[in-house]
Amino acid sequence: MFSLKPPRPTFRSYLLPPPQTDDKINSEPKIKKLEPVLLPGEIVVNEVNFVRKCIASDTSQYDLWGKLICSNFKISFITDDPMPLQKFHYRNLLLGEHDVPLTCIEQIVTLNDHKRKQKVLGPNQKLKFNPTELIIYCKDFRIVRFRFDESGPESAKKVCLAIAHYSQPTDLQLLFAFEYVGKKYHNSASKANGAPLGAGGSSSQKTPLFETYSDWDREVKRTGALGWRVCSINEGYMISTCLPEYFVVPSSLADQDLKVFSHSFVGRRMPFWCWSHSNGSALVRTALIRDVLQQRKIEQRICNAITKSHPQRSDVYKSDLDKTLPNIQDIQVAFVKLKQLCVNEPFEETEEKWLSSLENTRWLEYVRAFLKHAAELVYVLESKRLSVVLQEEEGRDLSCIIASLVQVMLDPYFRTITGFQSLIQKEWVMAGYPFLDRCNHLKRSEKEAPVFLLFLDTTWQLLEQCPAAFEFSETYLAVLHDSTRVALFGTFLFNSPHQRVQQSTEFAISKNIQLGDEKGLKFPSVWDWSLQFTPKDRTLFHNPFYIGKNTPCVQNGSVKSFKRPKKSYSSTLRGMPASLKNGIISEEELRPRRNSLILQVKPASLEPRDSQDWDAEQFFREWASRPADLHGTILPHLSGAHIKLWKLCYFRWVPEAQIQHGGFITVFHKLSLLADEVDVLSRALRQPRGGPMPASGPELAPSRLYFRACGPHDAPGTPDFLSSSFPFSPVGNLCRRSISGTPLSKFLSGAKIWLSTETLANED
């Protein structure tokens, strides 16, 4: 695939590999075979041979020899050497074992041991020394190290500069997805007309993307929301560039009114519907009203309309997220500290004060704050039966987490894989969560913040506390997080659906791509998981503990579908007097009297409470005292001992933290075997002859489970490759070296066109 043909016209500035490198290739037949695997539209920018990839921090004995290349999509280390010490590798079809997507790179550090120099490389940088070592700090917490002791010094320098340059693009259209999708369009145009690549495979077709009227309409009908309608006033993004083309509003508000109101809202983001409870209460999100004079009037009109859309004409409960939750800067600061603590700092040195250091990052505090706030809104929607309006200045960050969490807690559909994906489409992608800025794909935004990761983390807390309620596994959540760092999918690339259309139309025109009726280019969807993983590997997304609607179980000796309690939304709480006593004494009685023996007891929630909070507490206690309703509402336990660090996500690359042969995965494995056995039996039963257990059973039908129950002769033990990091492996992915990096922001520049790395390397 890799060829030395002249670069394509659009990338005029690419270097040819320098001659001395060519000689080496020719004189070393072994190296010659080391060719990168490239995707359509992917081009090698620069490369260097005889590179050592460091595997262990403390010794070079395991190092691998190979070639390091930089393409317009990734850095790739190509080697013939087998990976030492590694028992398992979870393969991504888009990336080789040693590859790092350019958008996953956080910081590039070059060093020269002999000259005792180091430099953090930004784009368009000069490098005054020949690097002997390159360290890549990745956004997914990996730290990868390469040594150039045996490489051509100039080639090494050029590769480093190329990586620095191409990983820090200055324009959205320089992200690889554009080149990739453009190539696809060109290829398909030469073959036949029609859509080049369907929005994705079968799985993505099942996930509603909420790009169309009908997706929203179906969602309104699915939730049984009466009094709400899909409105089309934003078709062609005529009203707002950060709202979807279609959204749902109270039926009583006319298009004309909405158009008028929209001017008063920040970003013209007027209130739009997210979801409705079966009791009729709706969840709505909105930006703030900018126009102070109009504020009262418009608020009144909209509240009235939402009230009208409620079957009981209940009041509206407003939740001002900016006032109650940490802001995105807080979240980013916490995340940076967490990362510093988890991977950058030496393991042993952080042990003694680990717990307080973890507390000081405030990450878990924020996880808890979001869960708590969402749980309180669940109470308002379900028990108080009020519609809830989430207010946030722009309504594009905190609202995304809270709206999603509330729905995950209340609606079992969003705890299935398809449902969860549709939720992300609905509340994040379509609702205008600025993925581009928050993921910082262009490495220039002071707006970087891991709001989406925080949502995945809070979801993980729920999954951890209530595993039977979720169809997906924590591997799925971790892989989903990783996918935000692969700049191939349109899903996580843009600040809004409008930006996708606008940017890709511009790109299409410049590339002479005929779009026809399409609104912008069709980028691959992340929900088309077949692009990244084999069917077998995708089975790891499935949580074997999940009890779905049709999960069979044994009841009184007969097999039935799992019995679902009829939607019993708050049946126990309905009409309960506020001062109800049932075993719980009121706050008044709890207060210790003078000389009393009563221990100084604080109520479980710390703040002094008004009666509403008291009811809420009652609601949570009632909920906690009942067995979990897997197909109803689930709520988090919020005590300090319940909110945990998501170790798979944050420790998977840390070799010292890896539990060999242990971790939760061993239980996952054990249960998978049993679940598979049950599946095989159930299939055998369904076979007409009900004959003997087919010996070839596992081969006949693809299993939904990663781990298969084998024949009776296979060893039943725990596979040797399981560890607490599974399916990821820390080997070679966390080569720390203590350096004090300079913040990237120092090296930012605004050039939109790639500069020649040749020029850069030659300047001194």
Binding site: E351, E352, K353, W354, L355, S356, E359, Q465, C466, P467, A468, P544, P552, C553, V554, G557, S558, V559, K581, G583, I584, I585, R593, R594, N595, S596, L597, I598, L599, V601, L606, R621, H637, S639, A641, H642, K647, A657, I659, Q660, H661, G662, T666, V667, H669, K670, L671, L674, E677, V678, L681, S682, A684, L685, P688, R689, G690, P716, T718, S724
Partner: protein, 540 residues
């Protein structure tokens, strides 16, 4: 709702399930005594009191005191609260308030328990009710001070398994391939003459003669000579033995650390700064050091180059922890229920961990400096290991909690006295019941469904603060607000699948029987799918 203190993980209440059920059925109902009793348990008194529940406020109830337990039943209609506390867990009883105390519920008793809780009762000021209750409780909670027998000697429970036969030293040494040409069995301590805190039967280096051992003994603290724990072989035992010292603090530091744990979890769980509060107790740090030491010991032994001499001043606290944990890591046998019982019996009970002094069974001296949660710390380490290797242990969390509950309860003879010679003198095995009798006669309750037996797997836990957790289901079990989901949802799902599998297998067998019946009958037509389908499909 208010039944906080009878958490599902209180093994005392669990074992009484059957008793409660019979009384509900009206079979054994005695209106005057709605109180579960063990055979040999005698009711002493009962009183109306106010139980000051730290979670739900004052609750009026009737308290029953027997020679084994304190039992409280709520008298309020809207509360089903039951307290069931063996007197053995009581470490201290204090009077609160005086004759002149004013204010409601200001006069009564405060009872400090060894299992990280306090019980407070308010009593009427008139009629000596407090004095009576105080005296009776003191008498039966601290029988040693009143020349009364510990309840274990009065307990007449019968089990169909005899737990005292679980551990047989000769058999256990044989399982380990001992004696061999490196190690020999000696009866030098037969009548506990050499060392009264060691067992009668010892395994010692082959080349060390009994005369040598006697000489060595005089130099060792309390004559405790080196003897094998795990029976690890080596060519020249003392030449290749490696000595290393571990930076683990003494028993007093551990005691204070546990006190701090109680401070942050009872009655309120510290909320806003949970992690730093936990850190300030240093409890997990101590757990980490013990585990680290055990890993080092295990690693040295398994590398095969050296035997390990584990040292501490007397050889019965740290030594027991390190050897038994190292053995758990190296030898999968000890990860089974029976293996673990043998491990405790051998490394702790037989080798003279001073249970009586560390726990203070029946002793009123709550401030005794010899008391320390060394065994609790060991069980905590085992729990940490079982968290990291959830399929490696045959026993579950309830097993560990039950052991800890009966470490204090004095219902069984298992943990009584400081050493084997004292136990023999008191004829403990003849006069008391073993805890293992209770457990082994109802093993299913203590089994980990995920257990995967793996004979030769060595397991090294990661002794890092990143993985160590506070054992919430033990230390915070009295707080109803911190309730962990019970039953564990993951475990529950597994049990459901097991039931489903059994059901399917049953049906397949039935189908096959039906098929083979047809095949053997030549007149029958070949089984047609349409005949079979409806039967099977009705269930899907």
């Amino acid at each position: 709702m208010a039944s906080a203190p009878t958490s599902k993980y209180n093994s005392h209440s669990l074992e009484n399930e059957s008793i409660k059920r019979t009384s509900r059925d009206g079979v054994n109902r005695d209106v005057g005594e709605p109180l579960p009793r063990l055979p040999g348990e005698i009711r002493i008194t009962d009183k109306e009191v106010i139980y000051i529940c730290p979670f739900n406020g004052p609750i009026k109830g009737r308290v029953y005191i027997t020679n084994y337990r304190l039992y409280l039943r709520s008298l309020e209609t809207d509360s089903a609260l039951i307290l069931d506390v063996p007197l053995g867990v009581i470490s201290r009883i204090e009077k609160m308030g005086g004759a002149t105390s004013r204010g409601e519920n200001s006069y009564g008793l405060d009872i400090t328990c060894k299992d990280l809780r306090n019980l407070r009762f308010a009593l009427k000021q008139e009629g000596h009710s407090r004095r009576d209750m105080f005296e009776i409780l003191t008498r039966y909670a601290f029988p040693l001070a009143h020349s009364l027998p510990i309840f274990a000697f009065l307990n007449e429970e019968k089990f169909n398994v005899d737990g005292w036969t679980v551990y047989n030293p000769v058999e256990e040494y044989r399982r380990q391939g001992l004696p061999n040409h490196h190690w020999r069995i000696t009866f030098i301590n037969k009548c506990y003459k050499l060392c009264d805190t060691y067992p009668a039967l010892l395994v010692v280096p082959y080349r060390a003669s009994d005369e040598d051992l006697r000489r060595v003994a005089t130099f060792r603290s309390r004559n405790r000579i080196p003897a094998t724990g795990g029976g690890y072989e080596s060519d020249d035992v003392y030449h290749n033995a490696e000595l290393f010292f571990l930076d683990i603090h003494n028993i007093h530091v551990m005691r204070e650390s546990l006190k701090k744990v109680k401070d942050i979890v009872y009655p309120n769980v510290e909320e806003s700064h949970w992690l730093s509060s936990l850190e300030s107790t240093h409890w997990l740090e101590h757990i980490k050091l013990v585990l680290t030491g055990a890993i080092q010991v295990a690693d040295k032994v398994s590398s095969g180059k050296s035997s390990v001499v584990v040292h501490c001043s007397d050889g019965w606290d740290r030594t027991a922890q390190l050897t038994s944990l190292a053995m758990l890591m190296l030898d999968s046998f000890y990860r089974s229920i029976e293996g673990f019982e043998i491990l405790v019996q051998k490394e702790w009970i037989s080798f003279g961990h001073k249970f009586a002094s560390r726990i203070g069974h029946g002793d009123k001296n709550h401030a005794d400096a010899d008391r320390s949660p060394i065994f609790l710390q060991f069980i905590d380490c085992v729990w940490q290991m079982s968290k990291q290797f959830p399929t490696a242990f045959e026993f579950n969390e309830r097993f560990l909690i039950t052991i800890l509950d009966h470490l204090y309860s004095c219902r069984f003879g298992t943990f009584l006295y400081n050493c084997e010679s004292a136990r023999e003198k008191q004829k403990v095995t003849e006069r008391t019941v073993s805890l293992w009798s209770l457990i082994n006669s109802n093993k299913d309750k203590f089994k980990n469904p995920f257990y995967t037996k793996e004979i030769n797997r060595v397991l090294y836990p990661v002794a890092s603060m990143r993985h160590l957790e506070l054992w919430v289901n033990y230390y915070i079990r009295w707080n109803p607000r911190i309730k962990q989901q019970q039953p564990n949802p993951v475990e529950q799902r597994y049990m459901e699948l097991l039931a489903l599998r059994d059901e399917y297998i049953k049906r397949l067998d039935e189908l096959q029987l039906a098929n083979s019946a047809k095949l053997s009958d030549p007149s029958a037509s070949p089984s047609s799918p349409s005949q079979m389908m409806p039967h099977v499909q009705t269930h899907f």
